[in-house]
């Protein structure tokens, strides 16, 4: 499991739970202000991430997700909780080149 796969799972789950398009969710989005993510959605997100990645989050990490502010911090929280290797780099994001 890499930070990249965790990020993809978080974004896909957020999109499903909030009704926002995955492509429109960015790391700088504020969870409550931009996406309407409250503690009820966080609980559903934790369950969805476990399902999607077929993992069990470590005991005791749940409470730390409630006061997270942005999508980027949320992704970082999952990466840290799951102890994903940070040495694996995300695939380069290639900007589409205008024809």
């Amino acid at each position: 499991m890499t930070p990249y796969s965790i990020r993809a799972a978080v974004i896909a789950s957020l999109a499903q739970l909030t009704g926002c398009a995955a492509g429109e969710i960015s790391d700088s989005d504020v969870l409550i202000d931009n996406l309407g993510v409250d503690s009820l959605i966080i609980v559903n997100l934790l369950v969805a991430i476990e399902d999607r990645l077929d993992i069990q989050l470590p005991d005791g990490c749940e409470g730390s997700f409630v006061n997270i502010r942005t999508v980027g911090q949320l992704v970082h929280g999952f990466v840290t909780s799951l102890g994903a290797s940070t040495s694996e780099h995300e695939p380069p994001r290639v900007k589409p080149v205008a024809p």
Partner: protein
């Protein structure tokens, strides 16, 4: 019982929980205490969070808060006049349509006094004479007045589901103490599913909007979402309680309370006021525990499994609390030992 002088150092004390967690039984037990007034559903009938959040308030506004039902309360009372939580006296019922009854005559005052209307009039006089500028002062003054009226020295308030707005309680009464009552999340969620008050709460939490009550009651909400709501309340509520001084929060497990009430109530007694000996109270209060009745579980194993999955998020947080107690880092547990 060593009767103490009126307790001038009493700090506000709230029993908080997720709702459907056994706090009514606990409240009834405290009601038998010789010195402590046990107030039920004060904030529930007055508007929950909005009534618990401090704000500049004069006597007239406070009186209106106590006596004019919110639209939500009026509608729920009209739709469900037979809800077991409602304690409207016959005299009140005969004199007014249910939706116009003063909120504190619905549950809190009838629990405290047989003459609830008289108590309301006396409270009005107290409010007229009293000077306060903020809502939190008014609440505390009214509850202290009712305690004295009933021959008690102190008070404790318990509203079902108040863990959801314990942050408001904490802002309004920064010196408050808390008894947190908790119970298995699956059991709570199943019970919430069948209760109109929690159906409204959960529907609104999902919609993230003040949906009309009728619409809330008509929505088909999977029971798993009641489990998710329960977990969310636990996560947020415990997040607040963790920031409060450890000696000011007592965590009580409902299943321990019914399994070994004497032991748990002695622990509660020490937390309430260690200087008061009330062994008689413990002896009488334990008699309120009844053996569990046989109940048919109508949920399929798959549904219960789904509930367990969402409730485990909150249950893990509770397991951490219990682990702290086992390690002896919970001060209330240390006192007991």
């Amino acid at each position: 019982v060593n009767r103490a002088a009126p307790n001038t150092t009493w700090r506000p004390l709230f029993v908080v929980g997720t709702g459907r967690c056994g706090s009514t039984l606990f409240s009834d037990m405290i009601r038998m205490h010789p010195l402590i007034l046990s107030v039920s559903e004060w904030f529930t009938v007055l508007g929950e969070r909005s009534a618990a959040e401090d704000a500049p308030t004069d006597a007239g506004a406070f009186w209106r808060l106590l006596t004019i039902p919110t639209p939500d309360v009026a509608e729920l009372v009209e739709r469900y006049p037979a809800l077991p939580e409602l304690k409207i006296s016959a005299a009140v019922k005969s004199g007014a349509a249910s939706r116009t009854v003063a909120p504190i005559l619905l549950i809190p005052l009838p629990h405290l006094a047989d003459d609830s209307i008289e108590a309301l009039y006396e409270l009005r006089e107290h409010i007229r004479r009293h000077r306060a500028g903020r809502l939190a002062e008014w609440h505390a003054s009214a509850l202290s007045f009712l305690a004295r009226r009933q021959g008690k020295t102190t008070w404790l308030e318990r509203s079902g589901g108040s863990l959801a707005y314990v942050d408001s309680l904490n802002r309004s009464w920064p010196n408050a103490r808390y008894i947190h009552l908790y119970r298995d999340g699956v059991e709570c969620a199943k019970s919430m599913y069948g209760h109109p008050y929690f159906r409204v709460r959960v529907a609104r939490a999902i919609a993230r909007a003040p949906v009309a009550i009728q619409e809330c009651l008509e929505r088909r909400i999977p029971v798993e979402q009641f489990g998710a709501y329960w977990s969310a309340v636990v996560l947020r509520g415990l997040g607040v309680l963790k920031k409060i001084a450890r000696e000011d929060v007592l965590h009580v497990n409902y299943s321990e309370l019914v399994r070994d009430p004497g032991r748990v109530l002695r622990r509660v007694q020490r937390f309430l006021d260690g200087s008061i000996e009330a062994e008689d109270w413990v002896a009488r209060a334990v008699t309120l525990v009844r053996p569990p009745g046989s109940r048919v579980d109508t949920y399929t194993p798959a549904t219960t499994d789904g509930l367990r999955r969402v409730c485990k998020i909150g249950m893990r947080e509770i397991a951490r609390l219990e682990a702290e107690r086992e390690r002896g880092t919970d001060p209330s547990h240390t006192i007991l030992a």
